[in-house]
Amino acid sequence: MTAATGAAVGRGTVRDAPRRRRGSPLRRLAAELGMIAVALVFLFPFYVFLAVALKTPADLAASPLAFPTDPALQNVADAWSRGDLGQALTSSAVVTGLSVAGLVLLGSTAAYLLARRAQRLSLALYLLFLLGLMIPLQLGMVPLYQLMRDANLLQTYTSLIIFEVGHQLPLVVFLYTGFLRALPREYEEAARVDGAGPLTTFRRIVLPLLRPITGTVVILSSINIWNDFLTPLLYVGGSAQQTLPVAIFAFRGEFASQWQIIFAGMGIAIAPILLVYFLLQKYVIKGFASGIKG
């Protein structure tokens, strides 16, 4: 048992400090079971989620807590067609994919300058970007909305992509700059000696070296953008370009809610996130931990 557990150390998503085994086996079993019990309570909402999404309205009224004996997959089909969730899924994918691509491009180039130029101007620019981590979105919400309107971009993917790129840039610039500052310059120097210009050096040398932090950037910003609600609601709500959270929100009827359809739709919206998470959990958690530490 000790050997088996020992072997597991270091395999985890966050490396464990090596430890000696302590306490009696009974006590450790109790701790194990205790934590599992805590986890079960913690996961109760997910159980409710499944139980509601798979029940008929009558079943739900009769026994809200029981697990559905005869899963009503019809709910999922209804949610899919009534909410036009196929279209919403496409919109979410398009907006997230293109915004993240834009963020990687704009964020890494900007950070390259900010990290490599030790001048007042570049430091000031860096601080200007960091300011964006604090500014609440609310203050600029209406003027930005007008700007999009004047540019005739409302109800388009373009408006959302521009918004998401600008909105997530401070975080991305922060991550890339921190990483680049810790990166040795030798490779770049070598490239310069070979006669490569800044753009070539960036493309050939720097960008590949940024891969680890690019992973973090992609994970963090994809999740933020995929889950974003308020701005998409304003920009593309009610149009064919609406994203998943907005489409789910629209399920809420004015006078009464049909929870089983709402929940089935919510299931469709979170399935892609959870699927990616469980497949790549190691990278996702690491991405968050390193992203947050900066």
């Binding site: 309205p57 009558a58 009224a61 009769a62 279209q87 496409t90 919109s91 994918a93 398009v94 994919g97 293109l98 691509a101 909305y145 309107r149 005739n152 971009l153 409302l154 109800q155 388009t156 993917y157 373009t158 050939r204 590949p208 070296l209 891969r211 609601l233 304003l234 709500g237 009610g238 149009s239 064919a240 370009q241 929100f249 629209a250 809420r252 009827g253 004015e254 006078f255 009464a256 809610s257 049909q258 929870w259």
Partner: protein, 435 residues
């Protein structure tokens, strides 16, 4: 870091971007706003765009095919629930992106109500439409802006009390026709161990039905000009004996404990479910929601009845609040003629009838129709006698009066503010006038 590896990786990234772009283009036209520039050319050809609420979308769907084949026009309908539509529409109108045909609220009840938009010149004048003569008096006043008809009612909705027949029978309760009878019925039901009145007041939507229903009988029939006098500053909610009486009725039920326990946390669907399962006896709701109530019970439609909720001890004084569900033509529509044609189509008696029957609502226009459902029969005599009023909030000068009523109303229900304080807050919003 071999060159090949980098290349492969870079190609991989490029492929992902290309694939996303391809999906995007396939999903298409989402990137730019193409002004299709189809100005009305008099024949009303081309595409008509419409932005309607979820209920209208469901009711219109079966009628559109006939319209398209009859006129050769194509319809492009998008929909959202009413709250969301109201928020979107305001900005769409300001930004010139609104559809040809739009769902508007009656009176002045929101920033996108007929009265507000009509005065700003955002809506087309529909006075010369043939159907304008078929408007019923209760909707005509709400569709009118400075003497012009500016909205078309696709249907009308009534605020009715729905009750569980079996629960009433078991407790030996008859349908009440006066306020005293309603109170007595509640006592009997409470003694039988059921919640007399389901009160799903989370969010306040179902609470406002009570205000409108009480005002329908106690305020407007007694003082039909009250809103004109309030706008003129001659009276206020606080000073109005009628309004105080209306709120006192609700307080009476609340104080007697006839509403559900924990009402402020109960969402609408749970209130309806309580009535369906017999835990509660009745619920005050809009008629359009009845099909959902039936859906919660195996007995279906048969298991329930409706009545107009009485508010006074004169059974003949009971009025029922009616609400039109409006469509209007955007003054800046790119296809105004097509939009008008669609309204003409919907106004044909067989289509009015089809819409009403499909949605279980009352016909929008005063034309001869046969309703399949007999559920609303108990309130039909009131309609025939003209004992109807609009929802009270329609004539309030702005949407904030209602917002305040919904929110402060919750504080009032749980006893943290008095009736006078509640009415005073509503007066303060009322005094701000129409923006």
């Amino acid at each position: 870091m071999t060159t090949t590896g980098t290349h492969l990786r870079r190609r991989g990234v490029a492929a992902v971007i290309a694939a996303t772009a391809a999906v995007a283009l396939a999903a298409c036209s989402g990137f730019v706003n193409s002004d299709d520039g189809e100005e009305g050319d008099g024949t009303g050809s081309g595409t008509v765009s419409a932005y309607v609420n979820t209920e209208q979308s469901a009711g219109l769907a079966p009628l559109l095919e006939g319209f398209e084949s009859e006129t050769g026009l194509t319809l492009d309908v998008s929909s959202a629930n009413t709250d969301e539509l109201n928020q979107q529409l305001r900005v769409q109108l300001t930004s010139g992106t609104a559809a040809d045909l739009i769902r508007v609220s009656p009176g002045y009840s929101s920033p996108v109500a007929v009265g507000v938009l009509g005065q700003e010149g955002e809506l087309a004048d529909l006075s010369d439409a043939a159907w304008a003569d078929d408007l019923t008096p209760d909707t005509a006043s709400l569709a009118d802006v400075d003497g012009s008809v500016m909205a078309f009612p696709v249907s009308r909705n009534a605020i009715v009390m729905a009750y569980n027949r079996e629960v009433f029978e078991q407790a030996g309760v008859e349908v009440p026709t006066t306020w005293s009878e309603l109170l007595a019925a509640c006592e009997t039901l409470a003694a039988a161990g059921v919640t007399p009145i389901a009160a799903p007041f989370q969010g306040g939507i179902y609470f406002q039905f009570w205000v409108y229903a009480m005002a329908s009988t106690l305020v407007y029939p007694v003082d039909p000009e009250i809103d004109e006098r309030m706008r003129a500053g001659e009276t206020t909610f606080v000073d109005s004996a009628e309004w105080n009486a209306a709120f006192a009725r609700i307080a009476e039920l609340n104080d007697a404990g006839h509403f559900s326990d924990g009402m402020l946390g109960i969402p609408p669907d749970q209130g309806l479910q309580a009535v369906a399962t017999g835990d509660a006896a009745m619920v005050l709701m809009v008629s359009a929601g009845l099909p959902q109530l039936y859906g919660y019970s195996d007995a279906g439609e048969e298991g329930f009845g409706v009545f107009a909720v009485p508010a006074s001890d004169d059974a003949g004084a009971t009025h029922v609040p009616l609400a039109p569900d409006f469509l209007a033509v955007n003054a800046a529509a790119s296809n105004p003629d097509g939009a008008r044609q669609l309204l003409d189509h919907l106004a044909q008696p067989e289509n009015v009838e089809a819409y009403a029957n499909a949605m279980g609502v009352l016909p929008g226009l005063g034309v001869e129709v046969t309703l399949e459902s007999t559920v609303l029969d108990p309130i039909m005599p009131l309609l025939d006698e003209g004992r109807t009023t609009g929802y009270a909030n329609y004539l309030w000068p702005n949407g904030d009066v209602q917002q305040t009523m919904l929110q402060s109303g919750q504080e009032w229900l749980d006893g943290s503010i008095t009736t006078e304080e509640l009415l005073g807050q509503m007066d303060a919003e009322y005094a701000k006038g129409t923006p």
